[in-house]
């Protein structure tokens, strides 16, 4: 069984990214880059499926404008067998990313392609579905339980107030949600072995950008809290504001 895992490099979720002086990008200074947290569920799931099968290969694939290898190396340290890095694309143009990934995945011929359900920087949720479209494969998104039964992938996903059960025929695409598993830490042996594992770097073919970033700005500062009154008398007004203004009840 060949399992492909698509991963993205994102700023550490504790980082507070600043807009760069050009007003169109993130200032990379002082940012620690990590594997997109949802992609870690995908990596862990692929490793577990391989371990359960007792055989197979896990291939990590990443598109990175800077050709930064760090997250693929970490994936290799966690146990992924080999990596393919596509140098090119952009951090925010999911359509380009999907096309580049599809181009690589076509040749990997994986039985199962795993993604995180979303990247925590661009939050566009589109890449798994777009890749499925390019490759003509079935896909299940936001999956919390996955089981391979022969040539079927049985997926469970949370829907409003209930759970949906999907059966996909392999090869297929699954995007992973928190709750699917608990990602492992890389072991020391894994880290030592990572530098010896193959990591292929490919130059991205030219693809027309679908998105142009015109401007980036930080979210507006949160307005300060407000005291609507004191004691019992304030309750009706508080309820009204919570309902009509904050829209939380």
């Amino acid at each position: 069984m060949i399992l492909a895992v698509c991963i993205k490099r994102v700023p550490d979720t504790n980082a507070r990214p600043q807009v760069a002086p050009d007003g169109k990008s993130i200032n990379p200074q002082g940012i620690e880059w990590v594997i997109n947290p949802y992609d870690e569920f995908a990596i862990e799931e692929a490793l577990r499926l391989k371990e359960k099968a007792g055989t197979g290969e896990v291939v990590g694939v990443s598109v990175d404008p800077d050709g930064n290898e760090s997250i693929l190396r970490k994936a290799l340290a966690m146990g992924v067998d080999r990596g393919i890095l596509v140098k090119g694309g952009s951090m925010f143009d999911g359509a380009v990313t999907a096309e580049l990934l599809a181009g690589v995945l076509k040749n990997v011929k994986a039985d199962l392609i795993l993604f995180g359900k979303q990247a925590v920087d661009s939050d566009s949720y589109q890449v798994p579905s777009l890749v499925a479209h390019h490759l003509g494969l079935p896909r299940a998104n936001v999956v919390t339980k996955l089981e391979i039964q022969g040539t079927k992938a049985v997926c469970r996903r949370q829907i409003e107030g209930n759970e949906e059960l999907l059966e996909l025929s392999t090869p297929c695409i699954v995007s992973c949600q928190k709750g699917l598993n608990e990602p492992r830490y890389p072991s020391l042996k894994g880290i030592m072995a990572a530098k010896k594992k193959p990591l292929e770097v490919l130059e991205a073919p030219p693809i027309e950008a679908r998105i142009e970033i015109l401007k980036m700005e930080p979210p507006p500062p949160r307005p300060p809290g407000r005291i609507v009154g004191k004691g019992r008398e304030a309750v009706p007004e508080l309820v009204r504001l919570l309902r009509e203004e904050a829209k939380v009840i």
Binding site: P186, L188, I191, M192
Partner: protein, 390 residues
């Protein structure tokens, strides 16, 4: 909360070293730190921490791959120790004793057969290692060892008592020193032995109660006529003193890293507090009295880190490092006491409370001025190395 001190990396760590540091940092922060307070309060051995470290391969970091370890360098071990100590001093001490003292003597001086038999279970963490050197009448003067090994048919009989053996009550393997020829010159009297816990005659006389590192296991161990087969003499007869001097050189870098990590753990909390706590209408960090303390702490921490990483790199390069290891351990452990004392002061009343962790770190750090050679012994080692024997 990352240490701003490490954001600018003047140490040119390799990608592998950085990945080890970052992985252990995440693990320590997420897994070890939340358990530290209760372990300290109860004084129970951190068995779950040890098992979790074993699962990650942290119980054999510098052990060669051929004997089941990760085969990483000394600096990687130091980086891991530092991160573990930031979260839990007791766990750091447990790992230091297991690795540097309980396992590395066999790696360094054992026969091929001994290495194959005893190192892999230690490296995988299946067996915990312990080291016995100190005795009731032989502390800093470890040459005054009285535990004796008498030659008998097929091996030795060991008789004596060892003090302050870290990990002893949970250990499956002991490396100890004993006098094998009391008439020989002082430095040729002693030999080292590998003892399995199951050898008849080994008993834990007492589990000690301590100021700090309270979850670390410290015991008095009796060896009552313990038969040790010939094949368990470590290295050559009469070389024990020389072996443990070399082992302590390496161990000292580990204890220095523990001190560094503890200081950093306190410092990080202190920085956070000085930004968020206000007094007289400003964050306390805006008052020079606090700001200068923070600056002084940062300088000392960074100085200790330079000394330690340098000593580790000398060892990795196969160059002499005895003096540098002693300097690093001496400075780092005394630095940790100063920095943590000031860190408590910055937090004031809160610093004195157990809830804020720093008082625990302060108690834990005191160990570093005593274990694996007191500060006074380090000054002897350094000055003798500089001046020669006058």
């Amino acid at each position: 909360m990352n240490t701003e001190l490490q954001a600018v990396d003047p140490f040119e760590l390799t990608e592998t070293q950085k990945m080890i540091r970052d992985t252990v940092r995440d693990f320590a922060r997420e897994t070890l730190a939340p358990r530290a307070q209760e372990l300290d309060r109860k004084g129970d051995f951190p068995m779950q921490n040890f098992r979790d470290m074993a699962a990650m391969g942290l119980t054999g970091i510098p052990v060669p791959e051929a004997y089941g370890g990760a085969g990483a360098d000394t600096l990687s071990f130091i980086l891991a120790m530092e991160e573990i100590a930031k979260a839990c001093g007791s766990t750091a001490l447990t790992l230091a004793a297991h690795t540097s003292l309980g396992t590395m003597p066999i790696v360094q001086f054992g026969s091929e057969e001994q290495k194959r038999k005893y190192v892999p279970p230690n490296a995988s963490g299946e067996v915990i290692g312990s080291y016995g050197l100190t005795e009731p009448q032989a502390g800093s003067d470890s040459g005054a060892t009285r535990t004796a090994a008498t030659r008998v048919s097929g091996g030795w009989r060991v008789q004596g008592t060892k003090m302050f053996m870290t990990n002893a009550s949970v250990a499956g393997l002991f490396v100890i020193t004993a006098v094998t020829n009391k008439d020989a010159p002082k430095h040729e009297r002693i030999s080292a032995f590998i003892l399995e816990r199951s050898f008849p005659g080994i008993s834990i006389a007492k589990k000690e109660d301590k100021l700090g590192c309270r979850a670390s296991d410290t015991c008095i161990v009796n060896f009552d006529d313990v038969f040790v087969p010939e094949s368990n003499l470590l290295g050559q007869e009469g070389h024990g003193f020389s072996y443990f001097m070399q082992i302590l050189d390496g161990g000292r870098i580990g204890i220095g890293a523990m001190a560094l990590g503890l200081a950093e753990g306190g410092f990080e909390r202190c920085v956070e507090y000085s930004k968020t706590r206000s007094a007289f209408g400003r964050p306390i960090g805006a008052h020079q009295a606090i700001a200068f303390k923070i600056a002084d702490m940062a300088v000392q921490i960074q100085a200790a880190r330079h000394l330690l990483y340098h000593a580790a790199r000398l060892k990795d390069a196969g160059r002499p490092y005895k003096r540098e290891a002693s300097m690093a351990k001496l400075y780092a452990s005394e630095m940790a006491m100063r920095v943590l004392r000031e860190a408590i002061q910055v937090l004031g009343g809160y610093g004195y409370m157990t809830e804020y962790h720093i008082e625990r770190m302060y108690r834990d750090a005191k160990l570093c001025e005593i274990g694996e050679g007191t500060s006074e012994i380090q000054r002897i080692v350094i000055s003798r190395d500089l001046l020669g024997k006058l």
